[in-house]
Amino acid sequence: MREIAYQRAGNVEDAVRAGSQPEAAFLAGGTSLVDLMKLEVLNPARVIDVARLDLSRIEVTTGGVRLGATATNSAVAAHVEVRRRFPGLCEALLSGASPQLRNVATVAGNLLQRTRCAYYRDLSTRCNKRSPGAGCAAQEGWTRMHAILGGSDHCIAVHPSDMCVALAALDAAVHVRGPRSERDIPFSDLHLLPGDHPEREFALEPGELITWVFVPATPAAARSRYVKVRDRLSYAFALASCAAGLEIAGGRIQAARIAVGGVATKPWRNPEAERALVGEAPRAEAFRRAAEVALQGARPLRDNGFKVELAKRTVVRALTLSAEGA
């Protein structure tokens, strides 16, 4: 790890001011940032510890729940209102990492966690995310874990988060405080597609600090489920995952939410797949058609062709569980 200046922010204003300096990074739980600093993949000169700011509350507000930026993954997953209103979010959180990591990993840290692409984490290989313009070793490399959606010639790294897949499906909004103002970012706008600039990962300006995430409570959210398929039963990143929620009345689907994980460069949402379900009876044939639409545009690589069908079946499974309303 390179030398750092460590500073604990006393309040949000201080944090934003300190975070606006060059080469500054916010630190909360540390499970992602400290790991990448040790590998010298991320090399901030100043680390601004925001973990003790008054941002860890989980509050029921008008129309939904506000998740404080520094609430831990464990705290969110265990919260009674979160479990009741967003069961799929709880399942997503509990399917991620290990208990030790969830005990310190935070909401905002989860939103900003970096890819697990092996080439990104290995300084001896080329990576456009790490070194813009260097090239992408993954393109000719071992691509079993890489993206089939949202990639470019410059990057095919998968977004690793489970929580973010659920938050994408639930239409969450990310509240940020910047040097001059505060604003809300729709969840689907927070993560950027790699395109020509894989090094630009988030729609955040220098110094902007995530303060909370608002999750709207809807009938579909209350029936949401998360299904994750991986190489082993626990403590592994997704090969394919899906967060899905259905609102059903009179035997027909009134509203649907679908987001797919483990297969794309950001939490993947295709609103057309959701529209295809509205008015349908909640049956396997309709779910399969929606899954086909959800995976539209998939471009399998040499080693990950299996992900296309796997992801479709995962979508069908998540929709089926939501319809059953467990």
Partner: protein, 199 residues
Amino acid sequence: MPEDTSTDEGLSRREFLVTGAATVAFAACAGNSPRREGAAAPPPGDPMEITLLLNGERRVLRIDPRTTLLDLLRENLGLTGTKKGCDMGQCGACTVLADGTRIDSCLALAAQYDGRSITTIEGLARDGALHPVQEAFLNEDAFQCGYCTPGQILSCVGFLREGGGGSAAEIREGMSGNLCRCGAYPNIVAAVRSLHGRA
């Protein structure tokens, strides 16, 4: 160890290893201390002072801000019961309790824990009596080589405090952050199960 055995021949393996580790730690510090030359040199990593309530004892420590909690325990303080396995948050050998909650000490800067309580395997026994989780691991023969065992035991203490369930499936999931390469899992599950509802 009696004083009269402190000759070269009398050095225990542990003493030898600790001496070796201290030398390595010193060398590593010396290697880091010169400022990086050239462009984009970060500002000096000035040493900082932190206070830990470590195994019940207040410790004021002067550290390089980069120091992980794991390295602080092992290298600076000689508390080598906490193991460094993967050093990247995947094996759980470095599990300690922070304010009673289990965490991986390898992915934490020590500075983050300033003012907080840390419990390592060395601090689990009370007045010479083993902690019930330690007893259970002995009773169920829940280890082979022992390298993962301190982390397994502290993870189990955390799991029970979290109110983790008592079925084999719940125990396996709840303890999944701790790898055992010997494969002592059946007996680890038995040890955790034997404690359920008692801790």
